[in-house]
Amino acid sequence: MDIKEKIASTRNFSIIAHIDHGKSTLADRIMEECSAIDSRHMRDQYLDSMDIERERGITIKLNTVHLNYKADNGKEYQLNLIDTPGHVDFSYEVSRSLAACEGALLVVDSTQGVEAQTLANCYLALDNDLEVIPVINKIDLPSSSPDLVKKEIEDFIGLDASNALLCSAKTGVGIHDILERVVHDILPPEGNPNAPLRCLIFDSIFDPYRGVIPAFRVVDGTIRKGDKISFMGTSFEASIDTLFIKTPDEKEVEYLTVGDVGYLSASIKDIKQVHVGDTITLKDEPALDPLPGYKRLNPMVYCGIYPVDNADYSQLGDAMDKLKLNDASLVFEKESSQALGFGYRLGFLGLLHMEVVTERIEREFNIPLIATSPSVIYKVYKRGGVVYDLDNPSLFPDLGTIDRIEEPYMLTTIMTPSEYVGVIMKLCQDKRGIYKDITYINDNRVSIRYSMPLMEIVYDFFDKLKSSTKGYASLDYEFEKYLPSKLVKLDILLNGETIDALSTIVHQDFAYSRGKAICEKLVDTIPRQLFDIPIQAAIGSKIIARTTVKCLRKDVIAKCYGGDVSRKKKLLEKQKEGKKKMKAIGSVEVPQEAFLAVLKLDDEKK
């Protein structure tokens, strides 16, 4: 097959959906239909390869697979499927994978209908000029109502759903039709195979043996094994050891051309030389201009992370360099805390992103961490006109020196069955939301829009929304504007000492109730120790709440019998391990969870 024919038979597409609408299962079935995986090796959600993904049942990272498909017209096609995450925090992964595609399958759960992320991801795809094919999934379920969902897609997204495909990724019904539509409706890649090489890096991974491995899509030209390449952004040069695609097993290839999605290894040890969004070209025959990269996403939530054991500090730096490679949206800089020593301040796209990153550092790099409570970025207007960003409560200014503080508000879209409109509106009001509008998606479902302070969304709005609507409401949000707000710094004192890492910025109306709730939560989280530990919440020098961790009254292995000394030693070793995971602050030992306790307050009483 010549290069032109090869390009004409290539289709690049991704699958986009609201979380849990069955995208990863659909990817499984498509791989099976293309006989990519031996049935003996098949496992559910095949492309979710990270432990965290498999445990939580969500997709966090985009992942690619190259498939061969023989269509009904007798022609062979090469399909590059890019599986993407569904949660709002990971939309940057979605937008990157979309830039490598010409089409997208928009999967909608026929029992749930259009949800907030369906909408958000669909618009992302349309913005990228992708051909969007609506696919209505889970039609095997008794509560499925495909016609209603079609109508929602048309009325609410404005997409023609008259020939939307029906399928069940679970049973395999309709998968063949989907692939036929992919090859007919999605355009082959455009680009000139003879032009100077330009490949867009959309992801990269670090392999301890092979170094940095960029994932890229060829936009122009042809890339071959042995080529000397240059990264246009960093001017870094390397020569290609191997070029491969994932089928999903790695398969080495001699060359990749326009439209192909692949990976290369070039013994790149310095991870700072490879940036997602950079363009790869040939050293001796460079392209004139790099490809437009990705829009840099600004973090919305910040928190400090500190190694439990200070000796892990330099390893933590390494770990973050490596994660950054794989997670382009992560930003970090050094910081230090009186209570916790040296650490880093990290910026995240949202709270799930924060949880995932900290969990990955702990698991993949085996560094026990303490994460401080998250903060959004406030704008501080000093008297005299100076404005600066504040993302760290410990830098909260003296209120006497400033004109005002503004906090970020998000344009928040909530889709819900209409019966929950009342509770949702009350919740939004309680969380300082500003009402915008309400739209009927159909007779039973509505879309409500509010301006919400991001801090409240980060805090517990999402959990509360889910619990007060039995999980039926879905949420999407994007930055809207900054608004002035009456904010105070809430300090927490352990044993009389202010713990900087536990300070938070809160709205003054919530300060008392939150101070009380934090104290109560900390009492449950901090284990009893040799002496009583008073816990206080304070604004400035004013104590607003107080509790006490009573001293430890018993901690003894009662039985040491039959001469089994080793077993007792093991128990003590385990207990000592647990102690090591706690941070000694002054004379108090504080477990990791305590630092997040300020976040997860169950019942905040006013």
């Binding site: 040799l530 430890l552 901690d555 003894v556 009662a558 039959g562 001469g563 003590l572």
Partner: protein, 368 residues
């Protein structure tokens, strides 16, 4: 010099929900095979037994083992049992008369009986409803009539259903029976026991830490009033009745053990016997006495304290220096524990303070 001998009998009539010792329900086929293996193991190592002066047969429930007599006979053939200072056999209370005649014949002079509690609800949970207090008292009298006066009763507190008033009743029972020795344990929730599952499924619940502390304080106070001296974290005795065998464990004296999952300490090393009973039987059938034993990590400096400090009388610092030719204050942060008043030093002796006894693990962890 190996002075203590322990023999493990892993069979029981019923399984206690909190127990995680090596045990299984009685099964005649396996019991026969176990007897043969155990006898072979004992005879194989008989040259280790020349200096034995205490024997402890534990379990499981040794008195539930149908072939206990064959084991006693074997011991009798290689050890002069009349010279053994302390020969203890464990039993449940309902089995404690089964071998009474054998006990006197083979010079068993101490019985350790698992009572745990006499609260009705708790006994129902423990499946021990077939015996009354009066019957237990009657059995103890029969044992004493046979000349065995040294009797230990095992009790547990902080169990499901236990409260200050159930503990009071148990203490009353102790007063009435007036045994020479009491082991009163704080319940340990072990993984993979029925109790741990029942707790997870909320089938039973435990007293709060505060209640448990009150029970502990009541036990300490009351046993003292009854004339018992607490000499180890969980053990009390009448004058002259400290368990010699158990003190060998706590004083780092040498002891040897036979049977599955049993532990030995000699030549400055700790050993554990294989815990799988079928493997144990198979290996001994093949005369493979090496594969049944596994050496365990031994750190005598650390064990000197974490085991020795279990004794209320504490340990000697100069003995440590002599044994290890090393300064204990340099090896461990003992000063910190003294500063925190968890340890008390009087001349050469250090021991747990009253507060240290409550939170002994905090102290022991310094020695790990």
């Amino acid at each position: 010099m190996i002075k203590g001998l322990y023999i493990h009998i892993p069979f029981c009539d019923f399984i206690c929900p909190y127990c995680d010792f090596k045990k299984r329900l009685k099964d005649d086929l396996i019991e026969k095979e176990y007897r043969d293996s155990l006898i072979k193991e004992i005879l194989n190592k008989k040259e280790y037994l020349n200096d034995i002066d205490t024997i402890y047969i534990g379990g499981g429930t040794p008195t539930a083992f149908s072939y206990l007599e064959d084991i006693l006979k074997t011991l009798d053939s290689i050890i002069d049992l009349s010279n053994i200072k302390e020969f203890t056999i464990e039993s449940t209370s309902n089995r404690c008369l089964d071998y009474l005649d054998l006990f006197t014949k083979y010079h068993v002079n101490r019985l350790s009986i698992g009572v745990e509690s006499f609260d009705d609800k708790l006994r129902e949970y423990l499946k021990r409803t077939d015996e009354t207090k009066e019957e237990l008292i009657e059995k103890i009298n029969r044992i004493r009539e046979k000349g065995i006066n040294n009797i230990n009763l095992d009790f547990i507190y902080s169990m499901p259903y236990s409260s200050l008033s159930t503990i009071k009743n148990d203490l009353e029972l102790i007063k009435e029976i007036n045994p020479t020795h009491i082991s009163f344990y704080d319940l340990i929730i072990e993984k993979n026991t029925q109790l741990s599952y029942d707790l997870k499924r909320n089938k039973v619940s435990l007293p709060s830490e505060n209640e448990s502390v009150r029970m502990r304080d009541l036990i300490n106070k009351t046993l003292k009033q009854y004339g018992y001296k607490r000499y180890e974290i969980s053990n009390w005795r009448k004058e002259g009745y400290e368990s010699i065998h158990n003190k060998y464990y706590w004083n780092l004296e040498e002891y040897i053990s036979f049977g599955v999952s049993s532990h030995s300490f000699y030549n400055n090393r700790r050993y554990e016997n294989i815990s799988n009973i079928k493997e144990y039987i198979r290996l001994i059938k093949n005369n493979d006495y090496i594969s049944i034993i596994k050496e365990e990590d031994t750190n005598l400096k650390s064990e000197y304290f974490i085991i020795g400090l279990r004794l209320i009388s504490g340990v000697s610092l100069s003995k440590y220096t002599n044994l290890f030719n090393s300064d204990p204050f340099k090896d461990f942060n003992i000063q910190k524990l003294l500063d925190n008043k968890l340890l008390v030093k009087r001349g050469d002796n250090i021991r747990l303070s009253k507060r240290g006894l409550e939170v002994a693990n905090i102290v022991f962890m310094e020695f790990i």
